[in-house]
Symmetry: D3
Subunit: 159 residues, 6 copies
């Protein structure tokens, strides 16, 4: 098995996609931020009157998706057509669950854009709540769904 | 408990640190990327002759740390004095473990810079190995150690 | 009336444009920087031999247009095909009038790119002349013309 | 009168501030976005349940302040210590009034950071409401207050 | 002869490419970093066990190519389809020779992207080796080959 | 001899400068763009009435210096205190000679900022004149002078 991000000599390169056709592509990524129940209360009450942790993280995730090619060395720049981020409290975690959906019409997929959206939003949640709890953990970041392109559909097994 | 990133009216702001003194500050963050044993072999063999997954991820993490204030809406820009990233294979995971150390002399801490370094490096590992395995998972991202500043020393409990 | 930048639940998202067709799009935006007649003399004399305020502002505006999707959270990244900025002295203001023209072939319009070009150029004019006059005012920033796309042609009424 | 952003030959340069002392500096800038009363209703209702125009603009303005030295060619990069943005509805405009406060401890002032925060937030308001009204106008952008540094205190006259 | 980056009045603008057709485009640029034989030994030994100067420079060049439109004022943003960088030791220089290949399918060429890749990689080589030798020189940066677009094929004469 | 940008294991890191003292630092870098005499005429006439190649390149170089830590992987972000760029025609080359001066008060030197200013300005000159001559060459990029910091003064020998 060879990795496409390296050439025959093992040197990193941004792989040539100029021969690929432009097709509709979709990726969904997910993740979570685990915290104490008290911190989760702060994050969710916050939406009403103390400050909007979730809204801030959502915007940071959307903006982060647009910076993917700046951050990930061998990612192609892509004209992103859609980014949406669902961030929902889960008392059983306890914490916040994140799910990013990204679409494009292009020559490569948007998996990295979706994963970067989730990561950036999760980091922002950490930043906004760290005064209350330094021990939060970010995890469960993975690709949930991918459609379009030559490699076709991928759906992650249930976690 | 109120969150420092919101003012009394609940509006997000970049909190005023101008009255804080410049002190030496350190943060260590950690995380991992879980993959199959075969993918881990690809990642580690790669260092020798097929392409350097770990070296690429390390650079991406270092550069990501410098972009923290661009990515996290309410983070202060900081003159980072040091960034180092250890990325080591762990056959028991199986996968790669990441550990970032960031230092500054400044008015706020560098927790977010260390966490951003780990996240960016983990995303880069995913990007470089995704042709081999789409089901990799990024997790265990947390602050391991923090020193300096008014709130003092924090060390995470053993995982 | 609902706003396209929010979904049904009121959450901000980057709206899906993947079903839109790529068409030629044009936007023209305008604005001004008001200053004293003496400061205007400085700005315009400057072109000849004391330093080029207007040329510097023009370049800043063109470069600013390319950063639009970085600055405006829910803007789509776009392959800009043209940016031009006219900056002309107007003794009756007194001050400088700015007019930016932006074109693309894409799935969304370039209104924000044109408005960002005008704003960035106006800020640069302020920066370069503020040693002479801190009381300058930036105003009159509006969309003058928009063509292309499903919503069709828009032309602002005379000011 | 000569402009500090040009040298003796009239060439643009980033002026040498290395001999200046680091002092506490504050700048306040203001501006507005004028719209119809119906659009203003959309913007303010939005906070409750249809989507948060004002919250999004506030974050964009804070993040924009951090990009000032990237956008304005001759601005010095500065370690910003505080950014806050007040955005309040004004039925008599009708529209939204913006006011940004920026602080640093550094060798140059933060006027441009405050003005850039206001401009970026105003552009974001336009972007989020343009589906409802293309004819909105951005204006009244000016420096309201400046403290610190050799040139001392400046306060704008009442508008 | 007039320069396309200026309009009839001599004002800089980003030239209108919206009427051009999207075609496959290729550019190859080259350059070198001259150093003493001892420094070259450090750079090349480094690959094995002391640190990877060449691998770091290659990544910096690839990432630099993606920043071209941010750096060069009148460059159009382009969806880069491929970037590869060859960096090879040349004992007769002595030093390292760089060669960047960039492809896109777009309305303008990728000469500037290829030249920026070479320049950024060369600067990174200087940065990583400057502790050993401050007197290194970067030179020979030129366009080697260009294909596609209305102006057709260009191949540089042998150096 | 070991290279400071690698740790004992040969891994790239951003070296720890937190123990260094903040001192005044200066760097001067130089380079040139070689072209035919006719192209040089275009570039220099341009200043008067056809468009300002040199002024555009100067601004690009100044802005490029501010992006150094974004472009060069292991460079520390620095609060640049001054950037100036001299660009002068040299009929004996024939071409344009560039010389950048950068100052800071910080914990590391500004050699890379000065070299990046020269490189970015040279690339911009190429971009603006490439319609007239594709065969231009960029070279002679080197550090001319460095002052401040523990390693002291360095002055390049006459070329």
């Amino acid at each position: 098995m060879s990795l496409s991000h390296f050439d025959a000599a093992g040197h990193a390169h941004m792989v040539d996609v100029s021969e690929k056709t432009e097709t509709a592509r979709l990726a969904v990524a997910e993740g979570w931020v685990k915290m104490t129940a008290q911190t989760l209360d702060l994050a969710t009450e916050g939406r009403a009157d103390k400050g909007d942790v979730i809204g801030t993280a959502r915007l940071a995730g959307i903006m982060g998706a647009k910076r993917t090619a700046d951050l990930i060395p061998l990612c192609h720049p892509l004209p992103i057509a859609k980014v949406a981020l669902d961030i929902t409290p889960d008392a059983s975690l306890p914490g916040l669950r994140l799910r990013a959906t990204v679409k494009t019409t292009g020559r490569t997929g948007v998996e990295m854009e979706a994963l970067t959206a989730v990561s950036t939003a999760a980091l922002t949640i950490y930043d906004m709540l760290k005064a209350a709890e330094k021990g939060m953990e970010i995890g469960g970041i993975r690709l949930a769904l991918k459609e379009g392109g030559k490699s076709g559909r991928y759906e992650a097994p249930a976690p």
